[in-house]
């Protein structure tokens, strides 16, 4: 388990149920110098968010059991997580338009390795 207090790198939580996609996100964020952790379902994500304070969350909008919307709302309601940046991943361009106001960034799938990596690196440098 990652101990974010001891880690030099900021923590990025990847909440994504598709392992293929999670692998690409992990590599992209590691390239951008993030410590990464993959969580595959919504409930586990809520449990984990109650413990850690990630600098960045990459959140799949369509998750089993707990929706991306619920998780995003929980993050926004948690005072510990006010500095946490959220990148939403959705396959729907229509949803993307609607979600843009709720999160820091919305990326439409397919999300390229370079695309996420560049965005994460930019976020890191602007911290």
């Amino acid at each position: 388990m990652t101990n974010d207090a001891l880690s030099e790198k900021p923590l990025a939580l990847i909440i994504e149920d598709n392992p293929e996609q999670a692998t690409i996100f992990t590599q992209a964020l590691q390239m951008a110098e993030f410590e990464t952790e993959v969580i595959q379902d919504g409930q586990a994500a809520l449990d984990r968010l109650a413990v850690v304070v990630p600098a960045l969350v990459v959140l799949d909008w369509q998750l089993p059991y707990v929706s991306g919307d619920d998780i995003l709302r929980r993050i926004r309601a948690d005072e510990r997580l006010t500095k946490t940046r959220v990148i939403l991943a959705t396959a729907s361009s229509v949803m993307a338009g609607l979600l843009r106001e709720k999160s820091d960034f919305v990326l439409i799938k397919p999300i390229g390795f370079y695309q996420l990596s560049h965005l994460a690196a930019r976020l890191r440098s602007s911290e």
Binding site: I24, Q27, A91, P110, F113
Partner: protein, 512 residues
């Protein structure tokens, strides 16, 4: 002054006739008379000319006052008929009056003749006047009947008891009757459906009691054959001379055909909507199902290229670039297809948000740059120094506009440069300008180059390059939706410049 009087005298005695004439003269008349004493002469006199009065003796040889009276009745002439007789009993007098005589005068009381004639003339005149007005009334009634009979809708009037006082042919026909048969009868006499009859009755009484018009825009009833009909009904109270409502006037329009057309239209519309919904759903599904594997292809290829899986040789690196370019084209095609579907369905929701010019340029940073590089082109992006730090608009669709223009430019440029320049055009507009050093667009093509895919479908041969033909059409449609405009300047062999002008203060209404 004497009043002229044409008198037909039925009298066998010349003396009596003279007495009668004298009496009439005394009463102020100027009689012009003819005396007859046979049935033949009487009939001839009746047909020959017009008379004001007939004065007839009761007893004549071979002829009687009652016979003469019967002949007048037969002739259908409405002539005052006065019997003058020497000997007449009360029973005979009564019989004469019943037979149509106006009056009778005893010969020994001939002084009564003048007043009797006067009264008879007066009554005759009154009767004629009444007849004239009755005839006029009947003419009017017949005319009214013609007017309502020509009307294909049902027209009727009913009294308080529900009896028809007026009906037109169409209505009578619907009840399987004639107008004459219908009058005086009620709905219950024709329509076996008691509920419907009761409903009509309630409507009628409501109108009569309330003195208010009733309009039933549409409802379903059952006709005498048990068939369902849709009707539009108007019922109005008829106010009588006493100021009270005793009747209801109704017009019923059969709107069954109209309803059927409406229904089939509604069904057709529902089917079309359902088909359209299925199309959208299919597109969304296809889009989703394509995006996931594309994500794997794109992500892993980029990771390969980035050396995550170990160092690559130059041909291997080149290959990854080709794969990425292919994915980018495919993705652009999917986005355009979905975009076109959304535009066609009127489902493009434009939002207003703040973004920086750099965020807009991200649309073409990663893959399009690789694509340009793969084609051996230089892709330059520039933001004018006086450009505002943030812009307003819908970033997603603006990125699609830019991506389309950029990939279009790359597609049609063999060598040289593709330049994207973002600048402020004037006080109201900013611009995305995409220029290339490509083959240029012939003048005749410049007019239709923005037409949608389906419109150029038949002349697809003119496109030698790959692509759906949707890109520029979407650019144009989105720009128009945003209140902007697209311009094109191009010279064959020199290159093209597409400029999209967009309002600095977008006015479209933000939804959600």
């Amino acid at each position: 002054m004497s009043t002229a009087l044409r008198v037909l005298l039925v009298e066998d005695s010349k003396g009596d006739a003279n007495l009668i004439v004298l009496e009439l003269q005394d009463s102020g008349y100027d009689p012009e008379f003819e005396r007859v004493d046979t049935p033949e002469a009487f009939r001839a006199a009746l047909t020959r000319q017009t008379w004001d009065v007939i004065i007839c003796d009761y007893f004549l040889p071979g002829f009687s006052g009652l016979d003469a009276l019967a002949m007048v009745q037969e002739s259908d002439l409405d002539l005052p008929f006065i019997i003058v007789s020497g000997v007449i009993g009360e029973d005979v007098a009564v019989a004469a009056m019943r037979g149509g005589a106006y009056d009778y005068v005893m010969k020994d009381k001939l002084v009564r003749l003048g007043p009797a004639v006067q009264r008879a003339l007066q009554e005759a005149e009154e009767r004629r006047a009444r007849k004239r007005s009755e005839e006029a009334l009947e003419k009017q009634r017949a005319f009214l009947q013609q007017v309502i009979d020509i009307n294909p809708h049902f027209i009727f009037a009913k009294d308080r008891e529900g009896r028809f006082t007026l009906a037109n042919e169409a209505f009578a026909k619907a009840y399987g009757a004639t107008v004459e048969v219908l009058l005086g009868k009620t709905d219950a006499d024709f329509n076996p459906n008691q509920d419907i009859v009761e409903r009509y009755r309630c409507e009628d009484l409501a109108v009569i009691e309330s003195n208010q018009e009733l309009i039933v825009p549409e409802d379903r009833v059952v006709n005498i054959h048990g068939e369902e009909l849709w009707r539009h009904t108007i019922k109005r109270p008829i106010v009588g001379e006493d100021g009270q409502v005793h009747q209801v006037l109704g017009v019923v329009i059969d709107i069954t055909d109209l309803k059927q057309v409406q229904q089939s239209l509604a069904e057709a519309r529902d089917q079309a909507l359902e088909a359209s919904r299925l199309k959208s759903q299919l597109l969304a599904n296809v889009s989703h199902d394509l995006r996931s594997p594309l994500g794997a292809i794109l992500g892993h290829t980029e990771m390969l290229q980035a050396g995550i899986y170990g160092p690559l040789s130059e041909p291997q690196y080149e290959a990854t670039t080709r794969i990425i370019a292919g994915v980018d084209q495919l993705l652009g095609f999917i986005n355009n297809l979905l975009g076109q579907a959304q535009i066609e369905a009127g489902k493009v929701v434009l939002r207003i948000e703040s973004f920086t010019p750099e965020e807009l340029l991200e649309a073409i940073h990663a893959t399009t740059t690789i694509l340009a590089k793969a084609e051996g082109l230089e892709l330059i992006t520039d933001v004018a120094p006086d450009m505002p730090a943030t812009l307003s608009g819908d970033l997603y669709w603006l990125q699609q506009i830019l991506a389309n223009l950029a990939s279009n430019a790359i597609k049609f440029t063999k060598r040289g440069t593709v330049r994207v320049y973002i600048y402020q055009a004037d006080e109201a507009f900013w611009a995305i300008e995409v220029s290339d050093t490509g083959c240029g667009i012939p003048a005749e093509a410049q007019s239709y180059i923005f037409d949608a895919f389906r419109q150029v479908d038949g002349t697809a041969t003119r496109r030698q390059h790959t692509g759906s033909g949707l890109g520029l059409s979407i650019v144009k449609q989105l720009t128009t939706l945003m209140g902007g405009k697209v311009t094109l300047t191009s010279e064959l062999g020199e290159g093209s410049t597409f400029t999209v002008l967009l309002p600095l203060k977008p006015m479209w209404r933000e939804t959600e």
